[in-house]
Subunit: 331 residues, 2 copies
């Protein structure tokens, strides 16, 4: 008789269990499995009202074990101002893919942050110039922090430009991360000047207005466009996006909620202009970077492929290390 206990993992439990390095490795593998037809396309669902929305992303990872995850994130952008609550709150349901048993319920934010940063790292590994040294981080929140750490796992970064419309947040980013990561970080405000000196640009703001223009970006740059993950969000001008080599996490998802969405709506390009999905490059089905001069843009909307892969690691480690509280919900 199998145990019917469900493991309850708080934000801290998840943070303690999941390392960025593991997350990068498993996210890379998940994208590859998907491209090879060994994972089915993940599904998404959204319910919205005037104050925000609820988004569910669900996927199934079938390796030795079969593992299902559905992540529900509530996104209420004015929460902090209005209620002192985080904008994003949610839970991930993990189930056995062979029996449907409810294995775990995890607070979702750490998984969202790490798996998104991990995708940026994986994409940079395949799409940035190997000698990339200078990074611009636009948006100095949690995602900016983990993005920088993920880039440092795959490239020898020497210099960082930190940009945020909130200069206090940028300042904190500079102080905390330059110490923690032992790297030179400079707060900047002149996007044109500083992006032109960057090998890698990460955009991870909540912006609904594009702010990165085509002329800001020098040849050879890799851009991870992370912020746009709903149809009203946008960070890159479509002229920049449409003119360069586009790699998506999932093309169908980017077409509805990513930077790609805006380029399609504006009629600048069609789906056929998308060069590849990240997994196709990892799996060797398509070449990654083919010249030192091309600008490559990774449209990152965040997928259930990443969620389920990261959650599987969290769950396995929690069981092994006996972390979390157990509850038999079916009693």
């Amino acid at each position: 008789m199998r145990s019917t206990d469900t493991l309850l993992l708080t934000r801290k439990n998840v943070a303690d269990l999941l390392s960025l390095e593991e997350c990068i490795n498993t996210v890379e593998e998940a994208f590859k499995l998907y491209a090879e037809g060994k994972m089915q396309p993940p599904k998404i669902l959204g319910v919205h009202n005037q104050k925000g929305g609820f988004h569910i992303k669900a996927g199934l990872l079938e390796k030795q074990d079969s593992f299902f995850a559905a992540k529900m994130n509530a996104n209420f952008p004015n929460n902090m101002k209005e209620y002192g609550l985080p904008a994003i709150q949610g839970v991930l349901i993990a189930s056995d893919g062979e029996t449907g048993q409810l294995l775990a319920l995890m607070y979702s934010i750490e998984i969202t942050i790490l798996r998104t940063g991990a995708a940026t790292g994986v994409a940079a590994k395949y799409l940035s110039r190997p000698e990339s040294k200078t990074v611009a981080i636009c948006g100095c929140g949690n995602q900016g922090r983990v993005s920088l750490k993920a880039l440092m796992e795959v490239r020898s970064i020497e210099k960082v430009f930190a940009f945020d419309t909130d200069s206090i947040r940028a300042d904190r980013f500079v102080k905390e991360l330059s110490k923690e990561l032992n790297i030179t970080i400079e707060q900047v405000t002149d996007l044109e000047k500083n992006l032109n000196q960057s090998d890698i640009v990460v955009t991870c703001t909540p912006s609904k207005q594009p702010f990165i223009k085509r002329e800001y970006i020098k040849p050879g740059t890799f851009i991870a466009a992370v912020g746009a993950d709903s149809e009203e969000k946008q960070e890159l001008y479509t002229e920049l996006f449409a003119a360069n080599k586009i790699v998506t996490d999932l093309t169908v998802q980017c077409a509805s909620i990513g930077e790609l969405h805006h380029a399609l709506v504006n009629g600048h390009i069609t789906i056929a202009n998308v060069y590849a999905e990240l997994g196709e490059i990892i799996a060797g089905l398509k070449e990654g970077r083919t010249s030192d001069n091309e600008i490559i843009i990774f449209d990152s909307t965040g997928t259930a492929l990443q969620d389920v892969a990261a959650a599987a690691i969290v769950y396995k480690k929690a069981v092994t290390m006996e972390v979390g509280m157990k509850l038999n919900f079916s009693n």
Copy 2:
């Protein structure tokens, strides 16, 4: 500062908190609100593999408070035989619709059973002849039990026929419910003979083959077709379904996973042949039964409208009565 505790409610907690009578009332109201344009269309998502599948239904109930629910049910039909586990296992996530706060996590099965039975009761109230006395229950599992109880809330039932391909289950149904409900229940095997004597017929089996023929049903009967809730399930022959007055819970959902699905695929009818959604009749936008002779079929696939309405009651009562365990997931 608002509390950020999440309430954990086990199967027993939910069963103790939710009465069938309350559930019928709230389900009736939810269908009505939806028909009046005061609830948005709920969303569904499905992920399947060879052994089963995961289904998510999500909806938002906005009355005085705003309440979101997403219910994830795993359905693995061979679970009991293979692993000694229930076929359906799942959890319902309840969130504040204004702030996205994670209010509660509930084991889902009791909500699924009760809200489905409640819809049968509500449909019978509007669509069966008021003097209906004799009921046939096809499928003597949990859903058969709650369906009978729900019918007894809305009609003066005097006689019940219990049919199940598993005669031990039918026998248990007869013994237990005739005592509990103080009513005459007879186990039957001749569908044609006994359905012809029934005013109300409920089908709630896991059948993938239709077994109710057109000639089994007498004029004036109300049929609640509850079993079909995925594209491969079917209980009524399409000739029976297509020839009569069809009321759905949600037409778009029935068209993909209900009895309606099969009638459409077989080309017997088009969507235009559907008479109404249940909510339209409750709201008075369309008439219910207009003659004592018509056969009316309610295609019940189970909707998030019902889930969110039932979960809102469970949550409010749990808070008031201080039931359930609290956990701060965001710590």
